[in-house]
């Protein structure tokens, strides 16, 4: 393409936007609304799954050993458990540590526990506390551990695992369906808006075709226009969401102060690390394909 033709295409693209500013504004607003909703939803879904993940991490499995198991045997069990991919981290607590902790928790360091002297009543309480990265795999891990030598007992919180697993599943199903619905609606609305804009200019397209313009030449300004509108339509809601996100988080935390110690929100930068590229690609993609396919039927002249 010659520089003069490229310049002509760019100029035509911008002119199209200016001349049909009402359609341009309608496309941008439609896209902005859809991407805004997508952004809000994305933030909610991410925070919910972040929260359940954090809760999951707080639900450990506790593994106790058979009487008389040696530290080497316990560490061997630990090594085997560590190889499992669902294990996020694990902590070992020796019988002495367990007793020290109990003394601290229940006797508050008073002399009441002195009666036991060096006779540790929790002598068989050495244990591993295992935290999972995916709580739905808890049962599988428990059966694996129960099959290991020197293991006496495995304690798990099945109800917590089931509840959190269910929440996670529901959140992912709902999020996927809503994102798909939002995408379909936005593609439909935007291609509709662009087609109306192009239909208004079908005479101009006809003239270009009679003169001998290639499909590529006719389409280029419209596609450029679609891309520009798509990017602007994505940038507006991203900026608004950025401004709204922190305010919403601090509003929730002040309004419901009880949540302060329970709930932690994902920082805005972490959310936007994904949301910015996804939003821009969505805007660009919808603008590009919307204009590409809307011009197609007008090119059959």
């Amino acid at each position: 393409m010659r520089p003069s033709t490229l310049w002509f295409t760019l100029k035509s693209g911008f002119k199209n936007i200016r001349r049909n500013w009402m359609f341009s504004a309608a496309s941008v607003l439609t896209m902005a609304a859809c991407i805004f909703l997508f952004g809000i939803f994305y933030s909610i879904v991410n925070n919910v799954s972040y929260l359940t993940r954090r809760l999951e991490e707080e639900v450990p499995i506790t593994v106790f050993f058979v009487e008389g198991a040696t530290p080497d045997q316990m560490s061997e069990v630990g090594k085997q458990i560590e190889t499992r991919p669902e294990v996020a981290r694990m902590e070992f607590e020796s019988a002495d540590e367990a007793w020290e902790k109990m003394k601290e928790d229940y006797f508050g360091g008073s002399s009441l526990a002195e009666g036991f002297k060096d006779d540790n009543p929790l002598i068989n309480s050495s244990n591993y506390r295992i935290y999972l990265n995916d709580i739905t795999k808890q049962n599988a891990l428990v059966s694996f551990i129960e099959g290991l030598d020197y293991v006496r007992e495995v304690n798990q919180s099945e109800q917590a695992a089931n509840t959190l697993g269910n929440i996670n599943r529901i959140v992912s199903y709902v999020s996927i369906s809503l994102i798909v619905i939002l995408l379909l609606i936005s593609i439909f609305l935007i291609s509709n808006t662009i087609s109306v804009g192009i239909a208004v200019r079908s005479e101009e397209i006809g003239i270009m075709k009679y003169i001998g313009a290639t499909d590529h030449f006719v389409r280029a300004p419209f596609v450029l226009e679609g891309i520009l509108l798509g990017l602007v339509g994505a940038a507006i809601p991203l900026v608004v969401l950025y401004l709204v996100y922190n305010r919403a988080v601090s509003y929730i935390l002040t309004r419901f102060s009880v949540l302060n110690n329970v709930v932690e929100f994902i920082p805005v930068t972490a959310i936007f690390r994904t949301l910015i590229p996804v939003g821009l690609v969505l805007g660009l993609g919808i603008g590009l394909f919307g204009s590409f396919f809307s011009t197609r039927k007008h090119l059959q002249v």
């Binding site: 003069s4 002509f8 003239i207 001998g212 313009a213 499909d215």
Partner: protein, 227 residues
């Protein structure tokens, strides 16, 4: 330059819009195609522009056979033709210069060529002083001149005119026809579709008369007779 060999075009059931038509136009000729509405004139123009395909027969324009021509080839073929329409089809939001330059941009011409060629052709059609006027500021005749300038700016081999005087008064119609004749005198083959009896009789050119898709007569220096 233009050959239609036993060409038929049907749009469905009923009489074909063009029925076994045979036309031969030599390079540099000036031809009127006349007939009332529904005679097949517009179908003929659409076939020559490769806007529609014939149902049967063979069409050769400027050495290219239109049947089986690939979609990607059509733009290159159309660059050999200049077209003007009854309703001028100018871009309303661009001035005279831009309307004509547009046809050169479409062909990927460099700016220096466009800046030289557009004033040349505007002078040719008698609009040298109206570069900056918008289409709505021009009379019908002037708008048709702009359309002619746009059709001619790429130096086409053939000029196709579909009712070019349909929206013009008799005096302006004669002026536009004189201009088209001048273009023809410079070597461009001209095919004018019209039902303007006065103009056809005034010009005394070759006249092909059509009725209901059939060619009734083809006369050198003919006139417009009743079908």
């Amino acid at each position: 330059m233009i050959d239609l060999i036993d060409v038929t075009k049907s749009y469905g059931k009923g009489l074909p819009a063009l029925n076994h038509a045979n036309i031969h136009v030599d390079k540099g000729e000036f031809v009127f195609v006349v007939g009332s509405s529904g005679s097949g004139k517009s179908t003929l123009i659409k076939l020559l522009l490769k806007e529609i395909d014939s149902t049967s027969g063979k069409i050769i324009v400027s050495g290219e056979q239109l049947e089986g021509m690939k979609h990607a080839r059509i733009p290159k073929f159309r660059r050999k033709l200049g077209v003007v329409f009854q309703d001028f089809r100018l871009l309303r939001d661009r001035n005279v210069y831009e309307n004509v330059a547009f046809a050169q941009h479409v062909l990927n011409r460099p700016n220096r060529v466009i800046k030289k060629r557009v004033p040349e052709v505007l002078t040719e059609v008698g609009l040298a002083g109206k570069y900056k006027s918008m289409p709505d500021e021009l009379s019908g005749g002037e708008q048709q001149r702009v359309a002619l300038a746009r059709a001619l700016v790429n130096r086409p081999e053939i000029l196709l005119a579909d009712e070019p005087t349909g929206n013009l008064d008799p005096k302006t119609s004669v002026e536009i026809m004189k201009l088209i004749e001048q273009i023809n005198n410079r070597g461009t083959t001209v095919l004018v579709v019209t039902h303007n009896r006065e103009i056809v009789n005034y010009m005394r050119k070759r006249v092909i008369m059509m009725n209901q898709g059939v060619i009734l007569s083809d006369e050198r220096e003919g006139g417009y007779r009743e079908a």
